[in-house]
């Protein structure tokens, strides 16, 4: 080492206390010191010349500066060393001023000794200092601006002006941010939109500004200068073709609280927040399938038709309800309605009566709907075996796709189980017939009395001109039950019993009927038996016996209630042992009593016999209703199709059987439950598969993956008012049992609209497609998908803004509970000419102009309780003053009181404005509010203390306005996580240095502007945005950046790959390499040189440039 020591007198600051000659003598004794110099001001030009000269003449490779604190002149000397090609780490510092002469002026002898040690330590340290390598990062001349409020727009505009490409990313559907919501701005009282709109238009037209709305930043990686940014763009569902005509919002039946209007009014599911929005396109708020749609096997947009019913648009509702389902009138009556079990309203009170609404709309519109024949456009014919719900749905869907379809039905009637299984009192025959007629009207051919395997064969059809076949043969017989006495006269099997009945054949039952089973078929048989007894003038005597309890019964809950009303007796927890006979006729049923045991595979608790507990019921008719089975006639002449465990074997995705071109579905090949709606869904799927098969398309791409359903949060549900569903009218008990008339009545129009209005619009967009039909530009694209994108940018500006403090957290103030308590931002909307009241001040409860208004300051600000924030939100005093002034000018008689903690009006013209508004007659009272209470007429009683007069007040007001403070927005918190930025109190992004680097963040190359950094008004926001843009310009104008010298580095040979460094690095700059022998790798561009990793490293592999253990210890040990 050839070290020069340079001692600074600092104009006497140092030399006045220390004897520098003596210090020089002591320094001369250290090994490696070859030169000593002193100067009055070593940091001046003379000092610099001395250093240059010594380096040149004495061949120095190390420089020790004995002067002031390194924090002051360190960069000066480092720069000299760099320019002399020694590298900045060739300089070591001894702090002789702040560290010695300044603080030990009264102990010069001790100070002298300490100074010798300080110089000695610096020399010792210098020996271990080595040159630090620095790389170059070339810069992308582009920037990402996150947040499209006034800060983001301003920054983007500045950057574009400097020739930098800007990607302006906004999570909402339009640029504009908070400023777009304001009515006017203080202190000039000029219209916010008038200043903002030209900025918005400017950004939209600027070719260097690339705007992406509905977009989130999901990842930021790479070094400053060449950040890699991942973006996720949510679908807008509206294309660029949108002309902004607004026809769609009139068509949309779904209204939800408007975020842009801060809940002051509602918006539609398709909307544009304000007229000057950029981009000007509308967007659909579609959050996924609603729970009801998700639960429906056929995927019916239940929320869609419910929303349309609520608006009285029955024709359109019918179109939605009948879209995927040719049997809406039928399903409105007999569907097991899984949609209602999923309905979120059920968590508030009762599910929306979705099925009853479907029935209403189908009965209301269906009969008048004229069906026209669909032209046949494909040459292939399709055969459908079985005219039940699966077969007929498949036929309809294929006919609509342009195929000639023929449905072969073994029975003389169509409808399958809907016809032969369900009695008239549940499903009147004319309802079913109407819907079947609508299917045949499309051109579907129906061949009745044609039994597959007997009258024709499937293979035969395929050989004779049919391109494909769909087997929808159902389960046409009762399951065989092994029970003694099953052969006795008086024993009936439910499926056959109901079929005979429903085909109008003569059926009779005895005086004492017992039905075994707990499903829908058992109930249908039992209730039919009651009617048979009553229509023949007998008293009803029917008992249902079931092995488990009512809770496990598969039949619909409401239906067994009706049956019991009709006189049905039910015995639970009994299993049939034997049908007892006398002279070949049934005389009784012997039953084993059971109790509930462990749950079985279906989740229901299994019945366990109670040993020795046997009972008997007298009976002359026993109906066995325990399951259905397939009838395999159709297999004759149908090769390669097989039946296993009572079901046709199919591929569950394509519904294709073992034979190419032959498909199967419905009860005979169920993919879900054995219900009508599952059969309908299977029919639709089969039609798609057959179409794909015949058109030679891939079979397996038929079913899109089910998207996650949209459901309101528990918090939103809890806020809903509890009500109840509108009950359906039932036929009187006495009227119904002696006839086959329909038991359950339908809704009236008024009832249907009221019931439909209970819908919570879970998914917001109900997928009713009313907008698709209304849009003249064809701009609606409901199948748009989320897109991801990756960008490379040189620098990033975070301008993600703030949100208003949630005033509900201040419970005594009544916000969210009392309609006439609003926030200052909501008042901005009520005063805005473009707002919901067109600028007329109307109080929310009754629309009247309030005569007396109380504005309360510091709601959630300057508040040390756990529900508030400590900081002052900076803008609220003038925000309230502005609104008070606007109201006073429009309604001079309104009495306004502003309750403040301290009135703060710093800044240009603000104090003057406050005085002016005071003169306009606004009353300012210093004091905080204890409580706001609502009176019967919705006016508000406010208790507050005047802290000047120390008097407690209680007054009535028509409107209370809360000046809720500012907090970091959700977007700010999100970007802080993604970018690894620090957040301070209330979530605002921490700047690198509160004074000197107010727009830099902890991460190099990422800057912050506007209210994301802290509460501030619009001029300050704009100034900061321009400052951030200037920082980006200065950074990117350099062309490249040097990686910092003081960064961590890892010695590969010593690294043991433990990964501790990765886990402690606050910048995410250290990562473990992959492979068998992982080792730590430092990204020098991201490292900010804190050295935490070096201190934590257990193997000593990690070190920090300029602060190695040797360098630190050399200083310590002197």
């Amino acid at each position: 080492m050839r070290c020069g020591v340079f001692l600074c007198e600092c104009g006497g600051n140092i030399s006045g206390v220390l004897d520098l000659d003596s210090l020089a003598d002591s320094a001369r004794t250290h090994d490696g010191v070859v030169s000593i110099s002193r100067n009055q001001f070593m940091c001046g030009t003379e000092g610099r010349r001395m250093i240059e000269q010594a380096v040149e003449e004495r061949g120095l490779d190390r420089i020790v500066i004995g002067a002031c604190s390194r924090r002051f002149q360190g960069p000066t000397f480092e720069r000299i060393a760099r320019e002399l090609r020694l590298g900045e780490n060739a300089v070591a510092f001894g702090n002789l001023r702040e560290g010695c002469s300044f603080i030990h002026r009264d102990e010069p002898a001790k100070a002298q000794l300490k100074a010798e040690k300080i110089v000695s330590a610096a020399v010792a340290r210098a020996r271990f200092q080595s040159d630090l390598p620095r790389g170059r990062t070339f810069l992308h001349r582009s920037a990402l601006v996150v947040g499209g409020g006034i800060a983001g727009i301003t920054a983007a505009e500045e950057l574009s002006g400097a020739g930098i490409d800007v990607h302006l990313v906004e999570r909402e559907q339009s640029l504009g941010g908070y400023m777009a919501r304001l009515s006017k701005t203080f202190p000039t009282e000029d219209c916010a939109m008038c200043s903002l709109a030209p900025q918005l238009t400017g950004a939209a037209l600027d070719p260097r500004i690339h705007i992406r709305t509905l977009t989130d930043v999901t990842e930021i990686s790479g070094p400053p200068g060449e950040f890699r940014v991942k973006l996720r763009q949510r679908p807008r569902f509206v294309s660029e073709a949108c002309v902004g005509c607004d026809d769609c919002t009139a068509a949309c039946p779904v209204s939800v609280s408007s975020e842009f209007e801060l809940g002051v009014t509602k918006r539609k599911a398709i909307s544009r927040p304000f007229a000057n929005a950029v981009p000007s396109l509308y967007a659909i708020d579609k959050r996924g399938p609603a729970p009801c749609k998700s639960a429906c096997p056929a995927g019916t947009s239940a929320q869609g038709y419910v929303a349309l019913v609520a608006e009285g648009r029955f024709d359109e509702a019918y179109r939605v309800a009948s879209g995927p389902n040719p049997f809406p009138s039928v399903c409105g009556r007999i569907c097991t309605h899984p949609c209602e079990r999923a309905c979120a309203r059920g968590e508030v009170d009762e599910p929306v009566a979705i099925a009853a609404l479907k029935r209403f709309v189908a009965d209301h519109v269906g009969p008048e709907t004229v069906i026209e024949k669909v032209p046949v456009i494909h040459s292939e014919k399709v055969a459908i075996i079985g005219a039940g719900p699966a077969g007929l749905t498949c036929a309809r869907d294929l006919a609509k796709l342009g195929y000639r379809t023929t449905v072969f039905e073994a029975l003389p009637v169509a409808g399958g189980m809907l016809k032969t299984g369900i009695p008239d009192y549940r499903l009147p025959k004319d309802v079913l017939e109407r819907e079947i007629d609508q299917i045949t009207a499309l051109g579907v051919e129906l061949k009745l009395g044609q039994r597959a395997g007997k009258d024709f064969t499937v293979d035969g059809l395929l050989e004779n001109g049919y391109g494909a076949a769909f087997l929808a043969v159902g389960l046409q017989k009762s399951s065989e039950v092994e029970i003694t006495g099953a052969e006795l006269e008086g024993t009936e099997r439910a499926v056959e019993f109901l079929r005979r009945l429903n085909l109008g054949k003569s059926v009779s039952v005895g005086d004492r009927v017992v039905v075994i089973g707990g499903g829908d078929v058992a109930l249908d048989a039992a209730r039919s038996a009651i009617r048979l007894q009553q229509t023949s003038g007998r008293e009803p005597n029917v008992t249902l016996v079931y092995r488990r309890t009512r809770a496990e019964m598969p039949a619909l809950g409401e239906e067994d209630e009706q049956a019991i009303e009709e006189g049905l007796k039910v015995e639970f927890l009994v299993a049939p042992l034997e049908i007892v006979g006398k002279k070949g006729r049934v005389s009784a049923l012997k039953l084993q009593r059971c109790k509930l045991g462990e749950p079985d595979s279906s989740g229901r608790r299994r019945p366990v016999p109670i040993e020795g507990d046997v009972t008997e019921i007298e009976a002359d008719t026993v109906v066995l209703a325990i399951g259905q089975d397939i009838v395999c006639d159709f297999l004759e002449g149908c090769e390669d199709v097989s039946v296993e465990k009572g079901q046709i074997r199919i591929d569950r995705d394509t519904l294709m059987t073992g034979k190419s071109g032959v498909f199967a579905g419905g009860d005979a090949a169920a993919t879900g439950g054995w219900t009508a709606i599952e059969a309908i869904a299977a029919g639709t799927r089969a039609a798609h598969s057959i179409h794909n098969y015949l058109r030679g398309e891939k079979l397996f791409e038929v079913w899109p993956a089910k998207a996650a359903e949209a459901r309101p949060s528990a918090e939103e549900l809890a806020r809903r008012e509890v009500g109840q569903r509108i009950p359906a009218v039932l036929l009187d008990r006495s009227d119904r049992c002696a006839s086959w008339a329909e038991v359950v009545g339908g809704y009236s129009e008024e009832e249907a609209i009221a019931e439909a209005s209970r819908c919570l619009a879970c998914a917001v967009c109900s997928e009713c497609e009313a907008c698709v039909r209304a849009c003249p530009a064809g701009a609606i694209e409901l199948d748009q998908q989320e897109e991801t994108e990756e960008l490379a940018v040189g620098a990033i500006i975070v301008a993600t803004g703030h949100k208003e403090f949630d005033a509900r957290r201040k419970i005594p103030l009544g916000f969210g509970r009392f309609s006439n308590v609003v926030t200052q931002s909501q008042l901005a909307r009520l005063l805005a000419p473009s707002g919901p009241t067109a600028g007329e001040l109307e109080r929310p409860s009754d629309g009247a102009v309030p005569k007396k208004i109380f504005m309360l300051q510091c709601v959630g600000s300057r508040d040390c309780t756990s529900s508030g924030n400590e900081h002052c939100s900076a803008i609220c005093c003038l925000f309230a003053t502005l609104h008070a002034s606007l109201i006073k000018q429009h309604y001079p008689d309104v009495d306004i009181t502003i309750g403040y903690t301290d009135l703060r009006a710093p800044g240009k013209s603000h104090e003057e404005y406050y005085r002016l508004v005071q003169e306009r007659g606004v009353r300012y009272v210093r004091g905080r509010v204890g409580e706001v209470m609502e009176e019967a007429d919705k006016s508000l009683r406010v208790r507050f203390e005047d802290t000047v007069t120390k008097r407690k007040n209680e007054e009535l007001f028509d409107l209370v306005v809360l000046s809720a403070g500012l907090e970091a927005s959700a977007g700010t918190t999100e970007i802080a996580h993604v970018a690894g930025l620090q957040q301070g109190s209330a979530g605002f992004i921490k700047e690198y240095h509160p004074k000197l680097k107010p727009v830099d963040t902890q991460r190099a190359g990422i800057f912050v502007a506007g209210t994301a950094q802290g509460p501030k008004n619009i001029p300050d926001t704009i100034a900061q945005a321009k400052a951030a843009a200037a920082r980006v310009v200065s950074m990117l104008s350099a062309g490249f950046v040097l990686t910092p010298a003081q960064v961590a580095s890892s010695n590969l040979e010593q690294c043991i790959g433990c990964g501790i460094c990765e886990s402690v690095c606050p910048q995410g700059a250290v990562k473990l390499s992959g492979g068998d022998n992982p080792h730590s790798v430092v990204d020098a561009n991201s490292c900010r040189g804190c050295g935490i990793c070096a201190a934590e490293c257990p193997s000593g592999a990690m070190t920090l440039g300029g602060y190695s253990d040797e360098e630190i210890l050399a200083e310590v040990m002197v």
């Binding site: 902890q1002 606050p1066 804190c1090 050295g1091 201190a1095 920090l1104 310590v1116 040990m1117």
Partner: protein, 149 residues
């Protein structure tokens, strides 16, 4: 600050009359800045304290603390940012962990744990910086010189 200079109380001398040596690691972001502010205000401080600049107290490892004691210091302290104010998120908390660890280690070999301490302060808080320096000086001066074998 000038008033502090005026009321400067002379550091208590040790019983044996010999001056102690205290090594102080100062974080660049806070304590070192507070030290500079203190110096500029000409506040008198005990000459026992020898400062070492570190970028973050998170850089200070037990090795540095213990080696300082092993090599002649009678006390060591670390002065960093206030909790939650670390410029590198949790560097000061890492430092605190290592100080606790070092204190436990010292105690197990019969060395007074108060020879190693941690203080936190903001860059603006010169009085707190002075108080920390004086407290450390008093603590170490009240203890005998550290015996090494």
């Amino acid at each position: 600050m000038t008033s502090t200079a005026a009321e400067n109380t002379r550091a208590p001398e040790t019983e044996d009359g010999a001056e102690r040596k205290i090594v102080a690691f100062f974080c660049r972001e806070c304590a070192y800045a507070a030290a500079d502010a203190t110096g500029n205000a000409r506040v008198s401080l005990p000459t026992t304290i020898r400062s070492v600049l570190v970028p973050c107290t998170g850089r200070v490892s037990p090795l540095h603390l213990l080696k300082a004691l092993a090599d002649g210091a009678d006390g060591v302290y670390v002065a960093g940012c206030l909790e939650g104010q670390c410029h590198y998120r949790e560097g000061n908390l890492h430092a605190l962990d290592r100080i606790e660890f070092s204190r436990a280690l010292l105690e197990s070999v019969g060395v007074e744990p108060e020879r190693v301490q941690m203080f936190t302060m903001s860059a603006a808080d010169s009085p707190k910086f002075v108080a920390a320096a004086r407290k450390m000086h008093e603590t170490i001066s009240a203890l005998p010189p550290l015996k090494r074998k």
